[in-house]
């Protein structure tokens, strides 16, 4: 599912792109799985966090990718703090 929201990429160096729920879901799922969460639980968490992010995005014409990551991380932390930590660290590990 794609909402009509432009995502401005990190640092503004790359072109903006439309919001993709699948991409958000996949990134949260990967964070959960990478901390050895069972697949079913990881899927459920990814769905719940994606839904929360989408409701936050309503009525916003454009947001930055960092905003999406920050809000997703905030919701993810309530479900799985370890996964949220890995999710936050992704861009600041190297």
């Amino acid at each position: 599912m794609s909402l009509a929201i432009d995502i401005i990429k990190h640092g503004g160096r790359r072109a903006s792109e439309s919001f993709s729920q699948e991409k958000l879901h996949a990134s949260i799922l990967a964070a959960c799985l990478s901390v050895r969460t069972p697949v079913g639980q990881a899927e459920a968490i990814a769905r719940a966090v994606s839904t929360s992010v989408i409701s936050w995005l309503e009525n916003k014409p454009e947001v930055t990718s960092q905003d999406v990551r920050r809000i997703a991380s905030k919701h993810l932390r309530t479900h799985h703090p370890d996964a949220a930590y890995i999710y936050e660290q992704h861009r600041i590990t190297i």
Binding site: S34, I86, Q89, I92, T93, I94
Partner: protein
């Protein structure tokens, strides 16, 4: 210089090399991607093992190549000026590590050019096969060349003085010790530890590692300076 003290210098230089964190960061991210892509634990092990081997092979190649170049340029005894340059490099990189190694922000981002970091990010995401993981391991060693060049040059200067067999032993010793941190992370990931715990430990101890690496470089520089340069000049008077 005796064989024992030569190998001790090589071992200390390799230990300093092991405390640099780019390869460890790349290995952590790579294993996160592989686990996150629902791959089997066997696949995770194959990829991480290939990565560690790649880093080891590149370390061996770098040290061998540097030794060969120095051997061709200066023979088995480099002039004091070259030792002085090597010591200067150790002091300079040591101070630079103290001042700049980690970026002043959350996480474990290190002071390497951002295009290199972004390239590594892209390659980690694109890596699907063990051969790619192997080349990523090699690339990650090259990525931190700016920091590891000082211990590698000093080790090469020490190694070219040794008999051929001990040169090989010294190169192997350097490669094994410099891989210690990677091997520890590899074992932790292979035994099912959570990446979040590993990354949390790395983040909370990053300044310790930074000061240990910088301090190690200064100590090594001071020791080599006293042993090789002051020892030769005072002994020669």
């Amino acid at each position: 210089m005796t064989i024992a003290s030569s190998l001790a210098i090589v071992a200390l230089a390799a230990l300093i090399h092991a405390s640099f964190q780019l390869s460890v960061s790349v290995l952590t991210l790579l294993s996160g991607h592989v686990i996150g892509a629902k791959k089997s634990q066997a696949k995770v092990l194959r990829m991480t093992t290939s990565f560690v081997f790649g880093a080891g092979v590149m370390t061996l190649l770098l040290l061998s190549f540097t030794s060969l170049v120095l051997l061709h340029l200066f023979g088995s005894h480099a002039p004091l000026a070259v030792w002085a340059i090597g010591c200067g490099l150790l002091f300079g990189v040591g101070v630079a590590v103290w001042l700049f190694y980690y970026r002043r922000e959350k996480g474990t981002s290190i002071w390497i050019p951002r295009p290199i970091a972004e390239y590594l990010h892209e390659r980690i995401k694109a890596t699907q096969r063990s051969a790619e993981a192997f080349s990523l391991g090699m690339t990650s060693v090259l990525g931190e060349l700016i920091f590891i060049i000082a211990p590698i040059i000093i080790s090469a200067l020490v190694l070219i003085q040794l008999p051929a067999l001990w040169q090989l032993a010294g190169i192997a010793l350097y490669a094994v010790i410099s891989l210690l941190s990677l091997v520890i992370i590899w074992v932790l990931i292979g035994s099912g530890h959570k990446l979040s715990r590993i990354q949390e430990w790395r983040e909370s101890n990053k300044y310790f590692l930074q000061y240990a690496a910088g301090g190690g470089l200064l100590i090594l520089g001071f020791f080599v300076y006293v042993y090789e340069i002051l020892g030769s000049t005072i002994g020669g008077l």
